[in-house]
């Protein structure tokens, strides 16, 4: 017995391909020069991406943000889900977010924030 039809497969594959195209287009972004760290939507500090450093932020939980070799990431967090520890960013407008702590790290381009799509 067949549990799925051809149109089901086409439907799913079309959505996946559409999303992959968008993903590829988004990846043509340039590498940024600075990162902006925000807590609860308010800008806390702007750091250059070309200098290796760490920055500690204490909200509801503690995050340590590390800049190394032009990449920014969250290197320590005592929040419960620790999803933020897995990503690292360098491209303009990309970001790492620690949702439980309401902290976000966003990469800025040469002239600060340009137009934001989406």
């Amino acid at each position: 017995m067949k549990y799925f039809s051809k149109s089901d497969v086409f439907f799913t594959v079309a959505i996946v391909i559409g999303a992959i195209i968008v993903l590829v287009l988004l990846n043509f972004r340039s590498v940024g020069s600075q990162i902006e760290i925000k807590h609860e939507g308010k800008s806390i500090v702007i750091l250059p991406l070309n200098k290796d450093t760490t920055y500690e932020i204490q909200g509801k939980y503690k995050n340590i943000i590390e800049i190394k070799d032009g990449n920014a990431r969250v290197s320590f967090s005592d929040c419960p889900n620790k999803v933020c520890l897995k990503g690292s960013v360098s491209k303009t407008n990309s970001s790492v977010v620690c949702a439980p702590n309401s902290v976000s790290i966003t990469v800025l381009g040469e002239g600060g924030i340009d137009a934001l799509t989406g």
Binding site: I20, V97, T106
Partner: protein, 163 residues
């Protein structure tokens, strides 16, 4: 499973069993993390939502979803996640209930998974007030479509075998 003498009682019993099952599945779900894809979950608990929607109807599916979200967030001690799971779960059930008469189970499931992921993305944008989270959305759509297809397939098999 569906006794003829009291259909309402058997519905309520089935609803309770499915509540427990979906809670267990969502705990298994949160224990499994996929490498390289932070925050992406398998979504196996959605099998129960889908099954409940087809077997018991919209009301019971919503009840099961709310019970699962509240109980899972109490068990994990993580109330921030309640907003995410409730918004995603309820929105996806409503969308699935809307489209299920016109589309096949698998298409319904795919649309439900997409709604779930997009809703969670939207809640993440609101909670963290960073529109840049939206760059994650294409990835959420890809994984949602694949997971939705698999869960729809499983549910299709379940619905045809469990009478």
């Amino acid at each position: 499973m569906h006794s003829q003498d009291n259909p309402k009682t058997s519905k309520i019993v089935l609803c309770a069993i499915l509540c427990g099952l979906s809670l267990v599945l969502s705990l298994v779900d949160s224990a499994v993390s996929i490498p390289f894809l932070p925050g992406i979950k398998l979504g196996i608990a959605s099998i129960v939502s889908l099954y409940a929607l087809y077997r018991l109807g919209l009301f019971y599916a919503l009840v099961i979803c709310v019970v699962r979200c509240v109980a899972a967030s109490l068990l994990s001690g993580n109330l921030t996640m309640l907003a995410f799971s409730l918004a995603g779960g309820i929105a996806s059930i409503l969308i699935m209930a809307l489209v299920k008469k016109r589309l096949s189970i698998i298409k319904t499931s795919v649309l439900g998974a997409l709604t779930h992921n997009l809703m969670q993305g939207a809640v993440a944008v609101i909670i963290t007030s960073t529109p840049q989270v939206s760059y994650y959305i294409p990835l959420l759509i890809i994984t949602g479509a694949i997971s939705g297809f698999c869960m729809g397939l499983i549910c299709n098999i379940l619905l045809s075998r469990i009478k």
